[in-house]
Amino acid sequence: MIYTDEVMKHFAEPQNVGELDDANAVGEVGNAKCGDIMKIFLRVEDNVIQDVRFKTFGCGAAIATSSVATQMIKGKTLEEALALSNKTVVQKLGGLPPAKLHCSVLAEQAVKAAVADYYTRQGIDPALFVNMNECDEHHCCGEGGNCG
């Protein structure tokens, strides 16, 4: 199994690592049993993601997808962030090994979970805007979808 240079670049120097003290939204997906958890912190102002950080427990691809996804949503509107798909994340990384594609799904879901949390905190039903397609146990640990 070989990672692209772009994956290794993000793995070696991940962007937006850490927590945000003044975050007003947090999303967490994955589970430790499967070997990956992504947590994304957002500071949203006037519908725009002013700042973002992440914390990830997981393999090289999990860390690289977190890094690239946070880069891609920084400065974007919530609608733009919700439109981020795992395919764009994979493209941005120049591809992922098949067994690691799930990491890009996890990154997409982590962004959605964070935006959903923002809506909830604003008293808005996130279901109106966010389509979570939940990361169930099967998906995390299921065939071909393992991210370790």
Binding site: K33, G35, I37, M38, K55, I63, C141, N146
Partner: protein, 385 residues
């Protein structure tokens, strides 16, 4: 190793020793004869194979006609197990939960199979074994590994062997990780069959051997049918160069063992002392009765593949029981068998040394490892630093 590289994955495979390569070279160049041929070029190869067989026999204390060369350790395991299951299709098999896949995936074809549990110290218990035997009076085969490939713990083979011998039950041990690393005496161990492979002790990949005690040879069928090689039990023109290398390597390993292991224990203690300063690091498996070249740690809050990639970026080669690195869905079945939770098993690091491991390599590891663990923990949502 040189150039700021450090190799800590000798349980995966080892570097070929210079003497081994030198001994092999003639059989890869001018001495290319087939050992079955009648002319001198052939008989020279035949003699070389016979000599290697004698060296392997001496190293593990048996007769040359009890050594059968194979194409790998996996093949030796497959042969030992399939070979006796064929003859006893109905009877029970006893093994352990943390065998190598080259054992587990072979025995699982059996209906009646008992997996001895492994405790958190990394050992099976004799009490569990005798109970399993009592519950399965029709047991035909027991296969328990000598040293585990991930945590290096050495199982009570001689004791298990004694019980098997008393009851006339065939006993096989996968000694792939221990041969070349600790003293092996098939008589003292009371084993009927033992698997080994050259690439774990500085011979080449793709050559192994199965020891089969003379008295039980008739109970083990042929593995590959064809020519008369390996007493007709494993056909195929011999891998002469590989076999010659295996013979030299095992001889070297035995003659060098005490000096080498004293050095390895010293290096291992240095690593242990340093890792003791890393919070929430644990050693998997007991330190007693363990291969001198093996350490296996878990670092809470981080995942093994990320750890290996970071180490690799610092020039350090190691391995992990993380699912990510194995291409399977679950983390190491060995660590799970010890009772480790999944998330801890995902964060394991196996470090295995050899006679070539230097103080400088350990220096490099010990400078980088704490920094890397701290770095990965700083980005982990599971770590409350």
């Amino acid at each position: 190793m040189s150039n700021n590289m450090a190799y800590f994955d000798n349980a995966a495979t080892t570097k070929i020793s210079d003497n081994v390569l030198a001994a092999m070279m003639p059989y890869l160049t001018e001495n290319y004869g087939n050992p079955s041929s009648i002319y001198r070029l052939g008989t020279e190869s035949w003699r070389a194979v016979a000599e290697a067989r004698a060296k392997v026999a001496t190293a593990i204390n048996c007769q040359p006609n009890e050594i059968f060369f194979t194409g790998s350790g996996s093949e030796a395991n497959n042969w030992a197990i399939k070979g006796c299951m064929e003859n006893e299709p109905q009877s029970a098999v006893i093994t352990s939960a943390f065998e190598h896949h080259a054992v587990l995936h072979v025995v699982k074809k059996r209906d009646n199979i008992t997996y001895l549990p492994v405790y958190d110290d990394g050992f099976v218990r004799l009490a569990d074994f005798t109970r399993a035997l009592e519950n399965n009076p029709d047991t035909a085969l027991v296969t328990i590994m000598h040293a585990n490939n991930e945590i290096g713990t050495i199982q009570p083979i001689a004791e298990i062997g004694t019980i098997c011998r008393e009851r006339g039950v065939l006993f096989h041990t996968d000694a792939v990780q221990s041969v070349g690393n600790v003293h092996i005496d098939v008589q003292a161990m009371n084993v009927d069959m033992l698997s080994l492979t050259g690439h774990k002790f500085h011979a080449m990949k793709g050559v192994g051997a199965l020891y089969v005690r003379k008295a039980v040879q008739r109970r083990l069928g042929s593995f590959i049918r064809g020519g008369a090689q390996e007493s007709g039990k494993r056909a195929g023109t011999e891998n002469v160069a590989g076999i010659v290398g295996l013979g030299v390597a095992i001889e070297e390993a035995v003659s060098d063992m005490e000096r080498k292991n004293a050095k390895l224990l010293e290096l291992r203690q240095r690593i242990l002392n340093e890792v003791a300063h890393i919070p929430k690091a644990r050693l998997n498996g007991a330190i007693e009765s363990r291969l001198p070249n093996n350490l296996n740690f878990s670092f809470e809050g981080i995942e093994g593949e990320a750890l290996l990639l970071q180490l690799d970026m610092s020039g350090i080669c190691a391995s992990s029981g993380s699912a990510c690195t194995s291409g399977s869905l679950d983390p190491s079945h060995v660590l799970l068998a010890l009772g480790l939770p999944h998330e801890i098993a995902h964060g394991s690091l196996r470090l295995t040394m050899s006679k070539y491991t230097t103080d400088e390599e350990v220096d490099l590891l010990l400078t980088k490892l704490p920094i890397i663990v701290a770095k990965l923990r700083a980005m982990s949502p599971m770590w409350e630093g």
